[in-house]
Subunit: 229 residues, 2 copies
Amino acid sequence: MAERKNLKVLVVDDEQDIIEILTYNLRKEGYEVATATDGVEAVKIASRFLPDVILLDIMMPNQDGVETCRQIREIEELQHAFIVFLTARSEEYSEVAAFEVGADDYINKPIKPRALLSRIAALFRREIKKEQEVSKISVRDLVIDRSSYTINKAGTTLVLPKKEFELLYFLAKNPNIVFSRDDLLQNIWGSDVYVLARTVDVHIRKVREKIGDDYITTVKGVGYKFEQN
Amino acid sequence: MAERKNLKVLVVDDEQDIIEILTYNLRKEGYEVATATDGVEAVKIASRFLPDVILLDIMMPNQDGVETCRQIREIEELQHAFIVFLTARSEEYSEVAAFEVGADDYINKPIKPRALLSRIAALFRREIKKEQEVSKISVRDLVIDRSSYTINKAGTTLVLPKKEFELLYFLAKNPNIVFSRDDLLQNIWGSDVYVLARTVDVHIRKVREKIGDDYITTVKGVGYKFEQN
DNA sequence: AATTAAGTTAACAATTTCTTAACAATACCT
DNA sequence: AGGTATTGTTAAGAAATTGTTAACTTAATT
């Protein structure tokens, strides 16, 4: 997995084992890694290492993750670093506080390396997408507006429920490309949601009901696609 | 859910109940399943069964999951098998050790069959995508586009059913090479599908009907080929 | 807490695609 | 040319996939 230009990750955890596993896996994927074993050290190192991602254990001696996060956010150059909290399932006390101080994501231990990596990768992808993502797209006679979750078709305005909107938006954004139901689930529902593939069909049906049958076509045995013309 | 070519899963757990539930669900999804009730047996069976996925209980009599995992990883042919640990929430002693010995994922009991299945499916999706090839090929006046599942011929767009599309795609990708009906069945239908060889003829006929007779030629007594010029 | 909306699942219907079998047509061989 | 093997073609029905509806579950809202 090359292609990445030297992204830097700072791992902060008081357990040496966890540091080792994460470091090992991240390096294997081509990330540059630094580590810290408590909050105070973390702030110190972060300010010099300038990581793109910070994996931060919540429960730590000396200074906990929430406070550490707050301090990191005050550092100018780390304003845009991704901060991901690591936490044991039980200690949910901080869940809310975590986001309040500016965390970007939240991962429960036990940590699954693959899941973690794919989530980190996703953070960057999201970032890239945000830059390119237009809130409004026009295809054929539809104007799909992300900011209001509405579809404008020939003067009339439709409001779609979230999933239906996302589905239409995703397909319309990638016209003429067939997506399998699993692809759609991955992209719209996310990788950690387990719903039946046929759920997609129901949403497709509802979208068609609202915008008409001739936008989304079925490729039997494969999936669905949005027809450009 | 077809589409999968005989993926093999080895289930290792000392509780008969769990084995049965998992086996039942996996078989229903079309996986080939073998089972073992302790670590020693697991290694023995794994080395002959050569599973693609190994679901491994951590707490087992005789030899625990971590040690078993280590031994399995030493077997050359199982280097790339996915190993997923199953564990009761409480016993987190092994969390770290598990990944150290090369586990790929980690699932807490009680196991929700659906989540498990979708996770296993996800493991393979990643693999399969890698193998995916060029999505667009141009031969003569045809453009065969895998991403939209369409054929473009001199400005007009043709939509072929899946098998016909795959057949044309395969032949066009390897022009001027004669394939026997069995070759085509192997490559397009897969190695575990048993249909009569003459089924190919029918599909060839339909493809010819749609794109014209002068692309695919018959080599009597041998098979079919796509004519480059 | 009750009500409403959204999302998911399950069941059945409708449709399309695939496969088979039968017969016709064609090429190949002696 | 006649016989044989192979392929072309068609149509019927099997199998697989998708459409559609309604019941149910979950989440949001009042």
